[in-house]
């Protein structure tokens, strides 16, 4: 399960991708990579379309069937999304250490997990006080960007 947040004029949009055998799906559309930088999408109406994507700054640009969309991504590490409950991996990497246990009470600022990515260590820190309700990975696991690492309840 991969979560991402994008901003829109109607407020943040939360996108939760479902992993399929060969790619991802959302709202009845399924997607796989073509290997040449495009994404092949089977729309929910059965049509096939090829998306070109590029990221510039925090914005994902998507061209699809004559339409061009810009989606500004809200960083998972930013305060607005960290309060949503699930704590998601800010980048793909490897879990080096899990510093808390299920049921443990934590305070804002408590380190929860250590992630290694881009040859650097990153500490995943609680943004608010709460209780750890679930831990989805253990040390040594590979995680994708956007993967929900653990869950925190107020």
């Amino acid at each position: 399960m991969m979560q991402h947040q994008f901003s829109s004029s109607d407020g943040p949009i939360e996108v939760t991708l479902t992993r399929t055998d060969s790619g991802y799906s959302l709202a009845g559309h399924t997607l796989e990579s073509t290997g040449d930088g495009r994404l092949k999408i089977r729309l929910s109406n059965g049509r096939i379309a090829y998306a070109h994507v590029a990221k510039a700054g925090d914005v994902w640009w998507v061209h699809l069937a004559g339409q061009t969309y810009r989606w500004e991504r809200i960083e998972p590490g930013s305060s607005s999304s960290q309060n949503e409950g699930g704590l998601v991996a800010p980048m793909p990497g490897k879990v080096l250490d899990v510093l808390v246990k299920t049921g443990q009470e934590v305070q804002a600022g408590t380190p929860l997990m250590v992630l290694e990515a881009m040859k650097m260590e990153h500490r995943i820190v609680a943004a608010k006080d709460g209780v750890v309700t679930a831990i989805h990975f253990e040390a040594g696991d590979q995680v994708t960007q956007g993967a929900v690492l653990l869950e925190l309840d107020e």
Partner: protein, 502 residues
């Protein structure tokens, strides 16, 4: 004979001219401002002179420096393209005085046509109909405004204010109500002074519901002055053309001949040489009125080339060499449409936009021509005009040309910078475009509250899937091999963007 041409321009028109010269076996020199180094046109010339300066005035408008570049590279001709120095008579004169061939009309013809008032007088004398109007000239702002108010009463409403030495919509205001007049006149004069250093304002009657029709002219030194038929360029947003076609969808053979002959008279009245365009307003009554003459090649020349089977830049080179033009009798075939691709936010009042051209994939297939000044990986900067490219299609009929344009625009992929490509695509479905009944106010009437894209919820959802999957798969990140141990970007559409991680 011309053996080496210096192109005193940039972007897509410089590319167009440089390619034509190369095909003609003529050597080329490009000049560029320092901030244009590495852009497409600078790589197309045999030689490149980087101008010294950091503003347009000290580079592309620096007459002295450009003539020096021509002399130092042994160029025997200068092609000015459009904009910049193309209609500056003193520049044309200096070029000739330096012993260099000027690819364009004489300085005298530029002067006579460059000034709207003189041009009108010349046209009236040549028997070409002109729109009711008059010019106001005064150094003093207060006096000028008073004179403008007086003149406005004689011309009548609605009216149009134009900078006498203007172009490109600058210093232009439409006024429908006398109570708005003063504010509009002040604004027009301010823009005219700022843009052209010349505060003269011309007032003319605004002919609403009219079509903007222009006639392409070619004249050589062997006694031949011909017209290449018309282009209709009615579709404009903020006085900037955006959709141009040939032939005019409502044109008749008789009207074409009448307008063509009027244009030839206009050209002959100033002993015109080379390529030029005579612009007319075509009123609903069928009457046409001289607007102005552009004494240079025009942005929208490709539609004429495609329907008449000519190469206007090659003809310019021939004419300037003293050769007769090569084109035969007028032979209009099929239909051509050009749209101008701007880096602008059409949904936000056409505000210019900037950014990287992270992906830039033009459409492919028969009957499609792209005159571009950019390529994938370029950065759109605020330094120059936001026109990125012109997309032109040809097909046997107008209906097929519109179908082809729709397909081409759907296939045009540009990511990283906001462009008007979707606006252009939806424009192709607007009823006046489909019917060919466009006028200069079509866009304002069709989208009175401004344009916003028609929603496509299914695709919007799917695009979110693509963005989220792209993020998950890390499609924006790539690490690369080293150059002598240093980390160095490798070619990838994504590597030139940014890396979010420290």
């Amino acid at each position: 004979m011309i053996t080496k041409v210096l192109v005193a321009n940039r972007g897509e028109i410089a590319c167009r001219i440089l390619r034509a010269c190369r095909e003609a076996g003529i050597q080329t020199v490009a000049v560029c401002a320092p901030n244009d180094q590495g852009t497409l046109f600078t790589e197309m010339a045999d030689e490149l002179v980087v101008l010294d300066g950091d503003t347009i005035a000290t580079t592309y408008l620096d007459q002295e420096q450009i003539i020096q570049a021509a002399l130092s590279t042994g160029s025997d001709a200068i092609h000015p393209g459009f904009g910049f120095l193309s209609e500056r008579a003193p520049f044309a004169r200096s070029v000739k005085q330096s012993g260099i061939i000027w690819i364009g009309p004489s300085p005298e013809a530029i002067e006579q046509m460059g000034d709207k008032m003189t041009a009108r007088q010349t046209m009236r004398n040549a028997g070409v109909p002109v729109i009711p109007g008059e010019e106001v000239e005064s150094e003093d702002e207060h006096e000028a405004l008073a004179a403008l108010v007086e003149a406005s009463e004689r011309v009548g409403y609605p009216l149009l204010l134009k900078a006498s030495s203007g172009g490109g919509g600058k210093g232009m205001r439409a006024v429908y109500d006398p109570s708005d007049f003063l504010q509009s006149a002040e604004g027009a004069r301010r823009e005219a002074v700022a843009a052209f250093g010349d505060g003269r304002i011309y007032i003319e009657r605004l002919l609403n519901g009219s079509k903007h029709i222009e006639i392409q002219i070619l004249a050589d030194r062997h006694g031949r002055t011909v017209h290449l038929g018309e282009r209709e360029c009615s579709v404009q947003r903020r006085h900037q053309k955006v959709f141009e076609e040939a032939p005019g969808p409502t044109m008749t053979a008789e009207l074409r001949e009448a307008m063509g002959q009027a244009a030839i008279q206009a050209a002959q009245a100033v002993s015109y040489e080379g390529a030029g365009t005579v612009e007319f307003l075509l009123a609903p009554s069928g009457e046409f009125f001289f607007l102005e003459m552009n004494t240079r090649i025009q942005v929208e020349h490709p539609v004429t080339e495609l329907v008449t089977g000519t190469d206007i830049v090659r003809e310019q080179l021939r004419i300037a060499s003293g050769q007769p033009m090569s084109c035969g009798d007028l032979n209009i075939r099929g239909h051509a449409i050009e749209v101008r691709l701007y880096a602008e936010d059409a949904a936000n009042n056409f505000l210019p936009s900037i950014g990287p051209l992270a992906v830039f994939r033009p459409p492919e297939g028969p009957g499609i021509r792209l005159d571009a000044g950019v390529r994938e990986g370029d950065e759109v900067t605020p330094n120059y005009d936001p026109m990125l490219a012109k997309l032109i299609v040809w097909a046997p009929s107008r209906e097929e040309a519109l179908q082809r344009m729709r397909r081409a625009l759907d296939d045009f992929v540009i990511l990283g910078t906001t462009t008007n490509v979707r606006f252009l695509r939806e424009l192709c479905d607007a009823q006046p475009i489909v019917d060919g009944t466009t006028t200069t106010t079509t866009i304002d009437e069709h989208w009175p509250n401004g344009w916003t894209p028609t929603p496509a919820p299914l695709l919007e959802d799917a695009s979110l899937l693509a963005a989220a999957a792209g993020e998950t798969m890390g499609m924006h990140r790539t690490t690369t091999a080293s150059l002598d141990g240093e980390s160095q970007g490798l070619p990838s559409p994504f590597s030139t963007l940014n890396r979010r991680y420290p």
